[in-house]
Structure formats: structure tokens, C-alpha cells
Symmetry: C2
Subunit: 200 residues, 2 copies
Amino acid sequence: MSAALDFYFDFSSPYGYMMDEQIDAVAERFGRAVRRRPILLGAVFKHTGSQPLPSVPLKGPYSRHDLERTARFLALPYRLPDAFPISTHRAARAFYWLEAQDAGLARRFTQQVLRAYFIDNRDISQEEVLTACAATLGVDAAALGEAMAAEAMKTRLRTECDAALARGVFGSPFVIIDDEPFWGVDRLPQIELWLERGGF
Amino acid sequence: MSAALDFYFDFSSPYGYMMDEQIDAVAERFGRAVRRRPILLGAVFKHTGSQPLPSVPLKGPYSRHDLERTARFLALPYRLPDAFPISTHRAARAFYWLEAQDAGLARRFTQQVLRAYFIDNRDISQEEVLTACAATLGVDAAALGEAMAAEAMKTRLRTECDAALARGVFGSPFVIIDDEPFWGVDRLPQIELWLERGGF
């Protein structure tokens, strides 16, 4: 199997959720694994001077409409959560803590959390929502709660955000195959061709 | 034939050029005509607080790379012009002047000008480059030169930019089918499905 491809996302990114639902199957068809890297878009946007999509005039209303249409186009369930956008540092720290134990567990946690937010309208900024998601995967709630507040995990997440920025990541979803960067769920057709041909 | 679809673009938009090369064939397959509406992105960006892509940190370098890759993906010739971005008010005014005489002529002029810029690296902010493009289509250079400076055409272009903003247009390319808005050349697959099914 060739090197894993890197998939950067923010847990509050709707297009990131749509990528999460599709990227494993695409990668697997070409013998690749997926290495997830949750980041905080807020930290990244400071460097690019970007605003969260919903708050941009004209672009905000369009994006809400485009998200629903794109979800239908991709045949994915989706609704814009009532609490949006939200802070996702707890979810991201939980991810890295779980990943250190079991990468597959962290992947399943990601899917649970994104679906809880974008399908079931649960506020995933809340610790108890995250521990409930993890509990369905057999993760101890108290241990996860401690990990989300631990200094080591705060540092870890900061390090990951800095590393993402250093690789040029400025949005979510953002996929890097070897050194080739792809921004946006609408780049999936190019990602597939790239994996199929080893570049084009 | 159903109502024409509206295609908004700025003459200096590379993704706009890529849309221009494809939209007629797509529309024609579904019995639709294309009504081109050149606009000035600078005027639009004032309302959204957006910056031209090339000047945004991280996003700028990525977009230059993505443009080349997307052109290869779409099998279109393309190079980033040496003079980029440029002012396109002359090209847009020329378009509306030509369109008032012959919509087909304005369409061919658009293609000539976009190809001169994005394939042949000619500076289409210059009057003489635009009149040379038009001359190959049999348009009188002196008359076109006058039109590009005429008060009536300045007003016309401002009116068109205001009308675009009023419809929610905030970028290039931007396609509106009936009342359904699509931003970006990467929305072509959704545009095709929309035309095929009359919505989805």
C-alpha cells in the first residue's frame, strides 16, 4: 500500500463532513489509507484574513443553499445545525487522544461526531455530546473528558494546526496526496483521477 | 427552447474562461441558450469584502496551482497571463456594445478575448488588443474604440454590475438557471444534472 493521504478538516465544516463520508472509499479503491488531521479553521483564518463563510455578504446565503444542494447531489443526509459555527477544540483534542490509542477508533469517532452534528443537530462543542459519541464506541467518558482538558492535548492540537499551516492548508476539507494539495469536496473528481493515474 | 441561462463572469477570471469554453455545449444539450453577462469583480468584491484570489496568503499560491491542474483536468489550454489581474472595463463595455448589435458576435468576441488572454498571454486591458480581437470578427476598430470610452457604455456596465449584485452574484464564473445560482466552474456537474432533471 502506498503512503496514506492526509485529510485535514474542521469538525464544524459541512463540506468537511461530506468529504469524511466519501474519502475512505475513494482512497481504498486505489490502495491508500486516509490519515485524518482535524484542525481549527479559526487559527488558520487568522493567517489568510478569511471570514467564516456564513458571515460573508452574498456568499453566506449562497453557501447555505449550495450546502443543501451539494448534499443532495452527493446523496448524503445533511442539515445545517442550529448551533453553527461552533468551537471544535474539544472534538479535535478528543480525536488526537483517541488516535494515539487506535487510529480506527479515531476514524469511527470522527464519523459519529460529524453525523451527530450534521444529521442529528447535536451541539458537538459540548463535552457531554462528545463523550456520548465516544461511549457508543466503548470509550470511557471520564477519561475522555480529562483528555479534552489536558494541557498535553491543547499543545498537541496547536502543533497540528501549525503543521497544517506550514503545509499550506487554509480551508476544510483539504486533502494532500503525497505533496499534491486539493481544497474542497468539489475536488473529489480530481482526487480520484490523481490516485488512478498517479498524477495528471 | 426554455429560457436562456445567465452566465456572469469577469474577463480576467481564469475559472470564468474555463466556464466560457464549456457552458454553451452543456446548455445546448438541454435545449438552452446562454446569456453572457460580463461584470467587474472589483465592484462586487467591495460588497463582500473579498480579495482577489492571488493576493490571499496560502490561497493565492494554491489557486495558481489549482488553475493549471483544473485546466489539465478539463483538457483546456491555459496559462496564467503575465499581466494578472488587470482591469476589464473596456472588454466588458465592448461586449455590451457588440451584444446590442448581434448576440452571436458578442459571444465570439468573448471567446476571442478570453483565449487571447489565457492562451496567448495578451494584455486584454489594452484597447488595441481588444480592437484587434474584434477586427478578426469584422468589427470596425474605430467604432469599437469609441464605444469603449462612451458615457452610455460606462453607464450600461455599471447597471449590469448592480443588477448582478442584486441577484446575489459575488464571484466568477456564476451561472443562474431560472433562479438557481451556481458559483464556480466546479459546479458544472451540478449544472448538468439540474438541466437534465429540471432541478434535484
